[in-house]
Symmetry: C2
Subunit: 195 residues, 2 copies
């Protein structure tokens, strides 16, 4: 089953491709330019993921999309669903510095990454699943790999950030990997049922 990913982020396509089960291929939706990004103005990850799919139903192609965020307990779950727009139109470097400065000297560093991955066949069927990874916020920005908030997030059981641990670790244990792995597991079942 060839599925198209609604995202302008090449890192996402790479992460998802690394966990694909046999029988599936994922390609970025090439009609998406820089201007093709869907406004992420939903109240929840699921609403945003659904909006991304709904923007391209007219293509009549099997589509996947996701939305994700970092939820910091001390910041009442922020930046959360607004992760990409936290502190406005700034770089992730600045957003991460913003979080670290707000948490200077704070001992409760509990956080989690949440991802909702969604699929539609563009014929009226939808599947969506949530993936979560728990962890803590580091004291400083560390590591060069990954993207977004990866350099300040230390997953449970590790002592390095996602950006230090790199893609192999993330393809096993990240929120996105967990969400898409479950999504593809449901999709396998779903496509058997349809064929």
């Amino acid at each position: 089953m060839r599925i198209y990913l609604v995202s302008t982020n090449p890192n996402k396509a790479r992460e998802i491709s690394s966990i694909l089960p046999t029988g599936f291929t994922v390609e970025p939706l090439t009609v998406l330019g820089e201007s093709g990004a869907v406004e992420e103005n939903g109240d929840t990850y699921l609403q945003n993921a659904v909006k991304k799919l709904e923007g391209f139903l007219h293509l009549r192609l099997p589509l996947i999309a996701d939305d994700s965020g970092l939820e910091v307990q001390f910041l009442d779950g922020k930046p959360g669903v607004h992760s990409a727009r936290f502190l406005g139109d700034t770089s992730f470097e600045e957003k991460m510095r913003g979080i670290l400065s707000r948490m200077c000297g704070v001992s409760n560093r509990t956080a989690r990454f949440v991802c909702v991955a969604a699929f539609t066949d563009c014929e009226g069927d939808y599947l969506a699943v949530e993936g979560i990874v728990r962890g803590t916020i580091s004291n400083e920005i560390r590591g060069e790999q990954g993207f977004g908030y990866d350099p300040i997030f230390i997953p449970e059981g590790a002592n390095k950030t996602f950006a230090e641990l790199g893609p192999e670790f993330k393809s096993k244990l990240s929120h996105r990997a967990r969400a898409f792995r479950r999504l593809f597991s449901l999709l396998s079942l779903y496509s058997e049922h349809r064929s």
Copy 2:
């Protein structure tokens, strides 16, 4: 599997119960009072159905919800996703009269009812499906059964309105029946996979 329906409309619960496959029971969510209705301010049926589910995730119960609308071709698909609020805070009698007066003498009476039915296990998994029934708008309000716009909708192949045809017909062929029948078919598969 016992599933709870997020709706304050007793007609919906009755319609859905009439098409339940064995192994499933559906109960209205009793915590919903008149004030429990979720604001249907999404841009699509799916967004509204998702919002209804998301309002009650804290209950940690298997939930279903739906959103539906009547789409009249001559009215550019209106009332559509705004079916319940078409012409503001008026009765369905008034809403139907509003549609009929706008279509007085119009020969293109093509219309369709659309329903999106959605499920969540409240643990992060979501399924949603769309059901459609095509038909035409009658010249006058006819029939006493059903609810909403049923008295002005004549399904394809029939010469009576949904409100004249009654619940047995609707449980076979309505947009809601089609959506929920497919949803329960996916759910059967899903629950086998989980158990």
